[in-house]
Amino acid sequence: MTVDRSLHAQGVTLGYGDRTIVDSLDLQIPPGRITAIVGANACGKSTLLKAMARLLPPSAGEVLLDGKAIHRMPTKQVARVLGLLPQSPIAPDGIAVSDLVSRGRHPHQGALSRWTRADDEAVARALEATDVTHLADRPVDELSGGQRQRVWIAMALAQETDVLLLDEPTTFLDISHQVDVLDLLADLNRERGTTVAMVLHDLNLAARYADHLVAMAQGQIVAAGDPGEVLTEDTVRRVFGLDSRVVPDPLTGSPLVIPIGRHHTLIEPEQKDAAAAAEVEAGAQVG
């Protein structure tokens, strides 16, 4: 349906000023699939996403969009292929929903060309897809957090790009709105073949919705691949420094991470290893 776009970071080194955050990193975003990037705070995942969206020029290496260096392409041309929803976008005071969503059409408008019916139609489709048509005339700053996030996604959809990058699209949303937003992105991926890559905080939702999971720590990729293979107790320890138990999600079969804290654990930490050993033994006996 859409052209498969390749997005690819090649040995990129990223940072702000003298501070290096990501050091010569390679990352391939699989076309037509959903990629989730997870990692501890300040591990460089948002920085990496910004570089993939040509917002942050790498001090070494290159980001390639369809084989071409993205930082040297005309920015408007990139914007017709690749969309980005930043972590905290700003809605101008009092702006109406449909007006904000219309701004996603900016890359499709030339210096002289007028607003066309095709632009109106793209905005209408974006409003429908995110289910915010009934809010079209409302000011964005009067909406709830969940509605506002849908409106911002609608703006990115109006851009009609084959690749969509999102920086923590579910932050500040309650659990039902988180699932709403992720379902919406999954629909988009299934129906239009849009390549989605996003930074997510929630490991379990990331494992459920992503086809491809990238785990980062200290500016490096610790593991990348199928969520079932990537999200292990070992990965969680290496990425977050946290002990956990990973079990299959009873609903979806995707890995479910259960963190182990110092409190409220039925099994005492010292008994944990014994219990695990017993489990292995039991398993062996059953086997």
Partner: protein, 353 residues
């Protein structure tokens, strides 16, 4: 009258989108049109009324180049250059000001608050008193100084990813420094330089001439359309740098173009009539209140600026028995609003435009 509610389709959304866009466009055109008519009315009033009243027919006669006894001098030589200068400087201050206010999403980020006008004044006073330069050189110097101040505030504030409030605080500091330069130079000035130098302190139209109106007219004709053509970029920039870049706007280049065009208008406006206090500061917020969140506020703000200067100058001439500088009137209007904004910002942290 039956509508299918159960089955939403893109057709409904399309009509909603189109209707919304038309409504916004109509409102913008309506508000801007009414403002333009009001400006024309104020312009006409300031040509007709004064110590002597001239009928519209007499004024029209002068405007179309006929010889009308009495009116030809009073209207043609005194009132007309003054009203034209008021109109043009008001346009400059309003349009230039709202660019800064919307770009920084803060009404306090007005060029007359953050020292851009004061920078132009300081350079001009220095040029007149110390270097003894003529009218044109002084204007060029003022323009260069205004640009330098704007860019240095910008660099100082943005170097470490700075924000609006930081830029405003730095700007207020820069304004105070430039003000000190102005005061120092004036205190050392020779008596014959004082009238020329004083104009750069308080905005004044009492000695408006055609010679002085021409450069600002040129600026409005060249930079006005340029700024209006950048209005769409300004609207995109208001969503924050990252979102603007994400939808394909060359952020740095757009911002630089906007700053240069806006500063050009401000500097030429200042050169023609001095830094008429608070016109930039008031015009943007008034225009945005009238307009609501529809379309670009640049042209409406210019019209509000023109209206402010025309009306304030008319009051300054005739309302108080003595001819006051126009900046005294706008200053009296603007200062309470500044206090109000500062109080509100210390309470809620918000002084958005």
């Amino acid at each position: 009258m039956s509508t299918v509610v159960s089955e939403p389709h893109v057709g409904d959304a399309l009509s909603v989108v189109q209707a919304g866009r038309r409504r916004r466009r109509r409102r913008w055109a309506l508000v801007t049109g009414i403002l333009a008519l009001t400006v024309v009315a104020a312009f006409a009033v300031s040509l007709m009324f004064g110590q002597t009243f001239y009928t519209p027919a007499e004024v029209w006669g002068v405007l179309t180049g006929h010889r009308v006894s009495g009116a030809s001098f009073t209207v043609g030589e005194l009132r007309l250059p003054r009203a034209v200068t008021a109109l043009l400087t008001g346009l400059c201050f309003g349009m230039g000001g709202v660019v800064f206010q919307s770009m920084l999403r803060n009404a306090l980020a007005s060029p007359d608050v953050i020292g851009i006008n004061t920078g132009a004044s300081a350079a001009a006073v220095f040029g007149i008193v110390v270097l003894g330069l003529g009218e044109t050189e002084v204007s060029v110097m003022a323009m260069a100084a205004a640009l330098a101040v704007a860019l240095s505030i910008y660099l100082l504030a943005y170097r470490k990813g700075g924000s609006g409030p930081r830029l405003i605080l730095i700007g207020i500091g820069v304004a105070a420094m430039c003000q000190a330069v102005v005061s120092y130079v004036i205190s050392r000035a020779a008596e014959w330089d004082l009238p020329a130098a004083m104009r750069w302190i308080t905005g004044n139209l009492n000695d408006a001439t055609w010679d002085r109106a021409l450069p600002v007219a040129g600026a409005v004709i060249v930079l006005g359309p340029l700024l209006l053509s950048l209005a769409g970029r300004l609207e995109i920039l208001r969503m924050g740098d990252e979102t603007a870049a994400a939808v394909g706007l060359p952020v740095e280049r757009s911002r630089l173009l906007l700053i240069v065009a806006a500063v050009g208008l401000l500097a030429f406006g200042t050169a023609a009539a001095g830094p008429i206090a608070f016109v930039s500061f008031l015009a943007g917020p008034i225009a945005v209140r009238l307009l609501g969140p529809v379309g670009s506020p640049i042209l409406p703000a210019g019209l509000v600026g023109a209206l402010l200067v025309l009306v304030a100058d008319f009051c300054a001439q005739y309302a108080f028995g003595t001819r006051l500088p126009v900046g005294v009137i706008t200053g009296v209007l603007g200062a309470p609003y500044l206090v109000y904004l500062l109080v509100r910002s210390s309470r809620s942290g918000g002084t958005t435009l």
